[in-house]
């Protein structure tokens, strides 16, 4: 048996332990375990306290979140219908304050809505539905709100509830409707502009063609002095050409692009004149009543255009009423503020003259009301209308910086409202220019147009008047000729749009050679001038294509007389 280092043998040590003298010998005692247990209890008490604090903090956080949420949140006991919780947003949605606590739907809403909502929430609790979109809810004060509602069942302390979230969509819905309306208007205005540009382009080409036909017919008329039949035919061609020219002119007016004089005019005066004319042409079964509420009626306008608007609208109305009923014309002043401007993007800020034309006619069907301002859109029988009337009105109104709107109910009638910006100055009397109708003779005219046909027409007209012509299809050649023969040339007639050099440039070059030679500019398309409107100093007169022989003679005579008078002075 080995001896441990302290001199006590293993056996002795074992004996000591058996006697209970070993280091670890202890009578049975639970003290250590008890201590550990107490320590654990204390630890668990502290943990409980800690977790209680955390729970309390969480509770406060969730209460804050609950009330901070912008959506309305409620917890409803479906058995009793009573609210267990309801957050601030929900309370605000239904205008309740702490003085009158919201206890149930029945206390917050009219009976039927309360019942419907409770039923909906019941379905959400059962899982039948999860979400309802744009629910219309009547409040006790009569207001209507729209809400998106979602909900599901929750269990709190062994009792079943439904938790529902109400998102107030009233504002969003309104905004959405306004947006859609706005977008539709923008769309419409863009479409109108596109159609107008197209129509304008077509009209320009037509004018050149009609100009050629009409010019040649007029020349031929002079040459067949005795042939009555032929003369009649030619006169009919000329008449048809004039009508065609009128239509293209109207088409051009759709696109704001016609060259019109805008002067301050008294709108009410034009209405009066137009009504006299209308009363003479419409049957007695159509009555026209005018109510004038406008304090200011001066509008910077084209007299003929405004007159056309009134006549067209009233004629349409008479037709819509099957020539029996009342047409009411009302005028007033309207101040366009930012709100109105937002609703109607085409309007401008400031004071406007408002013209309203109402009838008691058949009205315009909803599905076509958006298209009535399109050119060639008509509901009349084939041959009875061009479909240009309202599009021309639209163009004229646009030209005046105005806006036209239509409100129509089928079977009740239609009202057109037109806003015109008021002019700054009151109307002044306009003095008409007088001129001497006797045509000039024996003048040498330099005629420039890149269209060979029009060059021929020009030459014919001028020679028929008793004048001489030097013609060029190329402006560079014309300028070269003028540089060599400046003294012998009395006047220059030039087209606007030409390759290599336009009419304005040519006029400038000619005046660089000789200053007092009058230059008459012809144009079929006012857009060209809109682009170049910076400088018309070298142009004596502008004549719109297609022009008649008479018109050209008149203009030429006027400019040459003016030069003569200037030289005489």
């Amino acid at each position: 048996m080995s001896q441990p280092s302290d001199g006590i043998s293993d056996k002795d040590s074992l004996r000591n332990k058996i006697m209970g003298m070993g280091d670890a010998s202890l009578k049975k005692s639970y003290y250590t375990q008890l201590q550990e247990h107490v320590l654990n209890l204390e630890k668990s008490r502290m943990e409980t306290e800690e977790s209680f604090k955390r729970a309390e903090a969480n509770k406060n956080l969730f209460i804050a979140l609950f009330h901070q949420a912008s959506d309305g949140i409620i917890v409803v006991d479906l058995e009793s219908g009573k609210f267990k919780f309801c957050n601030r947003a929900f309370a605000e949605m239904f205008d309740y304050n702490s003085d009158s606590p919201l206890l149930s739907f029945a206390s917050a809403l009219p009976g039927e809505d309360a019942e419907n909502l409770e039923n909906a929430l019941r379905k959400m609790a059962s899982g039948e539905i999860r979400f309802l979109n744009n629910v219309m809810i009547h409040k006790n004060d009569g207001d209507i709100i729209y809400a998106d509602i979602s909900g599901s069942a929750v269990e709190i302390e062994n009792r079943k509830y439904v938790l529902a979230v109400f998102r107030d969509m009233t504002g969003a819905r309104k905004l959405e409707l306004e947006k859609a309306e706005f977008a539709a208007k923008i769309n419409q205005s863009q479409k109108m502009e596109a159609i107008g540009t197209l129509a304008g382009g077509v009209a320009h080409d037509f004018n050149n063609i009609i100009g050629g036909i009409m010019g040649l017919a007029e020349i031929s008329l002079d040459e067949v002095k005795d042939n009555t039949d032929l003369r009649d035919n030619l006169n009919q061609i000329i008449t048809a050409c004039r009508r065609a020219r009128d239509i293209t002119t109207q088409l051009l007016s759709i696109t704001y692009k016609t060259e019109k004089k805008y002067e301050p005019v008294s709108f009410n005066g034009i209405i009066r004149d137009s009504v006299i004319l209308l009363k003479a042409t419409l049957p007695a079964s159509v009555s026209i009543k005018v109510t004038d509420n406008a304090e200011e009626d001066t509008v910077l306008a084209d007299h003929a255009g405004i007159s056309q608007i009134i006549i067209n609208l009233c004629t349409n109305s008479a037709h819509a009423m099957n020539y029996s009923g009342d047409i009411r014309i009302r005028t007033s002043n309207a101040d366009i503020d930012e709100y109105l401007m937002q609703k109607n993007p085409e309007l401008l800020l400031g004071k406007h003259f408002l013209l309203e034309v109402s009838d008691t006619g058949c009205g315009i069907p909803k599905d076509i009301v958006d298209r009535i301002f399109e050119p060639f859109f008509t509901t009349k029988e084939k041959g009875k209308g061009t479909g240009l009337g309202l599009s021309i009105i639209h163009g004229i109104v646009k030209n005046h910086g105005g806006v036209i709107t239509v409100y129509s109910e089928e079977g009740i009638g239609t009202t057109f409202r037109i806003f015109f910006p008021l002019a700054a100055d009151r109307v002044k009397s306009v003095v008409a220019e007088e001129y001497n109708p006797d045509s000039v003779k024996d003048a040498l005219v330099l005629f420039v147009d890149d269209e060979e046909l029009l060059v021929k027409v020009g030459e014919k007209i001028l020679s028929n008047m008793g004048n001489k012509t030097v013609s060029f299809a190329n402006p560079m050649e014309a300028l070269a000729y003028f540089e060599n023969n400046a003294e012998s040339i009395d006047a220059v007639i030039t087209d606007m749009a030409m390759p290599k050099m336009n009419g304005l440039k040519l006029a400038e070059k000619i005046h660089a050679v000789k200053k007092d030679v009058p230059v008459i500019l012809c144009s079929g398309y006012s857009d060209e001038l809109m682009k170049e409107n910076t400088d018309m100093k070298d142009i004596s007169r502008l004549i719109m294509k297609p022009f008649s022989a008479g018109e050209l003679a008149k203009v030429l005579t006027e400019v040459l007389n003016a030069v003569k008078k200037q030289r005489a002075d």
Partner: protein
């Protein structure tokens, strides 16, 4: 002033015990005072048949505290039985153990308790002071007058693989309370009474001559020897009833208090080897071995053995040591014979060639440590042969 006392330092540990008539009904008071929630009641089939389990269950039921009964315990309780009991204890969420019966259920209950609390296999605790934490509250109700497991620091468990008895020794094993009522002895048969009675006598003898004995243990041991010597045969004759039984119960208790603190000796070491290897009955082995061990040990503790001879009723005055030794071994042999144990180990199935093997185990048994004489293997073998 003396620099030191000549009395060697000793510790004496005993549980709270109630001795006397009406001890068992006090159980309910203990249960209530401990404030427990569920009880594991450990016993064995023999005790159950004797009716003591239902007596105890009635006491438990009076407290309205639920309990689970575990009775799968053999005469030499096995490790696997301890582990099964521990499993039931934990599964049923028990927090107290009550053991009723002889040494087997009480040793098993001690094992279950420490296994449950320390979460280790029972074999981890073999040896002295190897138990880190005490088991749950344990109240023991002895029904034999011999083992004294109800007050001892011992738990002897059979290692069923190695076939050895593991001695688990620790003051922590001493139960919380023992409720000792001699009435329980009335159901023992003569054989069991003889075996347990002789076991108690060996406890007293070995504790008295133990090299760890003390004046306190000596007092108990000598009185125990007297009581057992005077009452054992009478108790067997009157069937476990009457004054003899009361005295035997007291003798067993006093022997227990002595050996629990002074430990044992070579008889127990050799008996443990036999019990482990051949599953022989503990008391019977002890009874057969005692006189041979006294003969062997006598020279090493002759004064103490002379005291024991007096306690055995021998008038030693004027006798030589050798005469006393012979008289003592003879008186032990006579008591054994009178109590009905009249055979040697050959009758119990021991084979001579197994003896060296048993001697090895006996030498490594914890009880050998406190034997007054340090034994050699050959000497132990000779003792087995002497008792053959």
């Amino acid at each position: 002033m003396k620099e030191y006392s000549s009395i060697p330092l000793r510790k004496f540990v005993a549980p709270e015990f109630l001795f006397g008539s009406g001890a068992i009904p006090m159980l309910s008071r203990y249960i209530k005072n401990l404030g427990v929630k569920k009880i594991l009641l450990v016993s064995d089939p023999g005790v159950m048949n004797a009716g003591w389990v239902s007596v105890v269950e009635k006491q438990i039921k009076d407290t309205h505290i639920p309990h689970v009964l575990f009775t799968d315990v053999s005469p030499n309780p096995r490790d696997c039985e301890v582990m099964t009991g521990a499993e039931i204890y934990q599964k049923e969420s028990c927090d107290m153990i009550v053991a009723v019966g002889g040494g087997s259920p009480m040793d098993c209950a001690k094992g279950i308790g420490i296994v449950c609390i320390n979460k280790s296999h029972i074999s981890e605790f073999e040896g002295v002071d190897k138990i880190p934490l005490p088991g749950p509250p344990l109240v023991c109700i002895p029904t034999t007058s011999g083992t004294s497991a109800d007050i001892s620091q011992f738990s002897i468990i059979l290692d069923s693989v190695r076939k050895v008895k593991m001695a688990i020794v620790s003051k922590i094993l001493v139960p919380d309370a023992a409720l000792i009522d001699p009435v329980t002895l009335s159901t023992m048969d003569a054989k069991l009474t003889a075996e347990t009675g002789m076991d108690a006598l060996v406890h007293a003898f070995e504790a008295y001559v133990s090299n760890a004995s003390s004046p306190i243990t000596d007092l108990n041991a000598l009185r125990a020897v007297e009581l057992i010597r005077k009452n054992l045969v009478g108790m067997i004759k009157c069937g476990g009833k009457g004054e003899e039984a009361d005295n035997m119960m007291l003798g067993s208790l006093l022997a227990g208090l002595a050996f629990s603190n002074a430990s044992l000796g070579i008889v127990h070491a050799m008996a443990h080897a036999l019990g482990g290897f051949l599953d022989l009955r503990h008391g019977e082995c002890n009874a057969i071995l005692l006189e041979h061990a006294v003969n062997y040990n006598y020279e090493s503790a002759h004064e103490k053995y002379n005291d024991l001879a007096s306690a055995m009723g021998i008038e030693t005055k004027g006798m030589t040591d050798s005469q006393i030794k012979n008289a003592l071994t003879e008186s032990i042999g006579k008591l054994r014979y009178d109590s009905g144990i009249r055979h040697g180990f050959s009758a119990l199935g021991l084979k001579k060639d197994e003896i060296p093997f048993l001697a090895d185990y006996a030498l490594s048994d914890i009880c050998i440590v406190t034997n007054p004489r340090e034994a050699l293997k050959s000497e132990i073998e000779e003792l087995y042969v002497a008792a053959f």
